[in-house]
Symmetry: C2
Subunit: 326 residues, 2 copies
């Protein structure tokens, strides 16, 4: 029997193979395969997305408090709304919880979810609780779409590539937590608490600055690949231009490229929009850094060093089916 | 340390203790604690709900095919939309899947979800795939609300209680599957494939027939309790009136009361609406049976036999935190 296993195919293999089959029927403006679905309900265009955190896959219990975990479960979903330029409005959570889980911790999970939602202008409006051997939290979010949501497709050769915030911090935090569950510091804090770039996403969408956008959750290189495939283009990234803390830079060359869990926005900006981007930069609530440019499809996706030489990457990013088990 | 564990508190204990704390903020018309949340997005009122199926809690792998499991994961969420009288429109799924899960089976899960959505007029618009040791499927559904969605609260003493379809069938099927994973027959089919009562729910809401409604997912007695608590009333159920197949009746007196997974609708109907109910009965797509009446709060929730004597219940319904592990 040579049945393909998910571990061989990987999450992206699966998503690429199966999700595009979803027909786009009535009211579906953007279906599976982007950060969110965009649907039409009467005159209102609505974003819908879901994401999950699973114990021993995305986190270990000793790495963060239940309150922090609740916050993170919400924030990673909100990042998908940011990647379309939308506003999160209503969240529901489906939680799987072991029977010996203290109800005090469940309360903290729930307060974390509700607080993080509130801080981004959204509300936790309902949920479902199941028993499960390993803790999981699936959050689904309904958001308001901007007039022109930014998809993954739409980048053109000659567009410039920008990324918000800094890369590699969360991956460094994860590495530190794996070595020492009691680790502290900025990187660990960032792993525990992503910062969805809602304001930047909204500014980029509302002002028609970005031609394509994705949130960087699986590592820059991986997500850049998704954006390029969706847009039918290639890209060249300048390694030296990646925004990184000194700590990340010192830790490893590849953390910023392949680390995962950045939850920053990667977008393509046509040259004619650069002046507008420059003008609106102070309103985005975070830095935004030019890291490369969009190239023709035939050029592929390349990372170059300061001298323009291609950098080989051993691992493209985080695919937790392809990844070794911890 | 005397921390309360979920296993002691139970799902409903938790939900009762914590969920009502959710503030109802901007745009939230019905918050946590009903079958769905009802939210306002511009002029459109939208229902949002989520439910999950977890391996070894809600099912064992050998009990149903991946295609059937995908269908069921969607249908149990659709039942929550039916319970408010709404129309399901857009679904997203968050799946947790073991790494050795065959991609062929994942494809079948996905086809099952998408087909069941399509059959109820909805669409599967996106999803998220995580690694997990035990399979889980969390489905979130966005639906159109009727002009007056039916809540759990609203029942008044003197209202009559009705239930759609038949009770206890799925619970009998579950019992059969536990004895023999290869079991067949109507009860097993019903366990595998719930039938959300979308048409009946819509008719009951649109025509203002029901004063309160809930879907029966945890056993009639349990869900009747939820409806009564939300409405601040008691109830009297006539055991002999419960709609049951001969097979269910023969199997056990309590299957129809406490079995769970019926996914029928339980509603309260004011006497002045009975003529309307009678007239519209043929349009509901399923039988609807009078099973008792709403009483004052002080009378509590009682089940009586044919002579009017109270029937004692050992177990109130299915609470999978309180339940023994299988």
């Amino acid at each position: 029997v040579s049945a393909t296993k998910l571990a061989q195919l990987g999450e992206f293999g699966f998503l690429a193979r199966f999700l595009p089959r979803l027909p786009r029927g009535r009211g579906v403006l953007i279906g599976a395969g982007d950060d969110c679905a965009l649907v039409q309900m009467d005159s209102r265009r609505v974003l819908v997305t879901t994401d999950a955190l699973v114990e021993d896959v995305h986190f270990e219990k000793q790495w963060m408090s239940p309150y922090q975990l609740g916050r993170k479960a919400y924030l990673v979903s909100a990042s998908d709304i940011a990647a379309m330029g939308g506003r999160p409005r209503f969240a529901v959570v489906s939680a799987g919880v072991p029977p010996d889980y203290p109800s005090r911790d469940l309360d903290a999970l729930h307060r974390g979810l509700a607080a993080a939602a509130r801080e981004t202008g959204a509300q936790l409006v309902g949920g479902n609780l199941s028993r499960a051997d390993a803790l999981f939290l699936s959050v689904a979010l309904v958001g308001e779409a901007p007039a022109q949501p930014i998809e993954r497709r739409g980048a053109k050769p000659g567009d410039l590539l920008f990324v918000t915030g800094r890369l590699g911090e969360a991956a460094l935090g994860l590495r530190q937590l794996r070595r020492d569950p009691g680790a502290r510091g900025a990187a660990v804090r960032r792993f525990r608490e992503p910062v969805p770039r809602l304001r930047a996403g909204a500014v980029l969408a509302k002002n028609h600055i970005a031609s394509a956008m994705i949130d960087v959750s699986d590592g820059l290189f991986q997500d850049l690949g998704h954006l390029c495939r969706a847009s039918g283009v290639g890209a060249r990234i300048e390694l030296s231009s990646l925004p990184r803390s000194a700590q990340v830079r010192a830790a490893s060359e590849t953390l910023a490229l392949a680390g995962g869990e950045d939850y920053e926005l990667l977008c393509a900006v046509p040259p004619r929009r650069l002046a507008r981007l420059q003008r609106l930069r102070p309103t985005m609530g975070c830095p935004i850094t030019r890291i490369g440019e969009v190239t023709p499809l035939a050029d592929g996706v390349r990372v170059v060093d300061a001298r323009g030489a291609s950098v080989a990457l051993r691992q493209g990013g985080f695919d937790h089916f392809a990844a070794r088990r911890r």
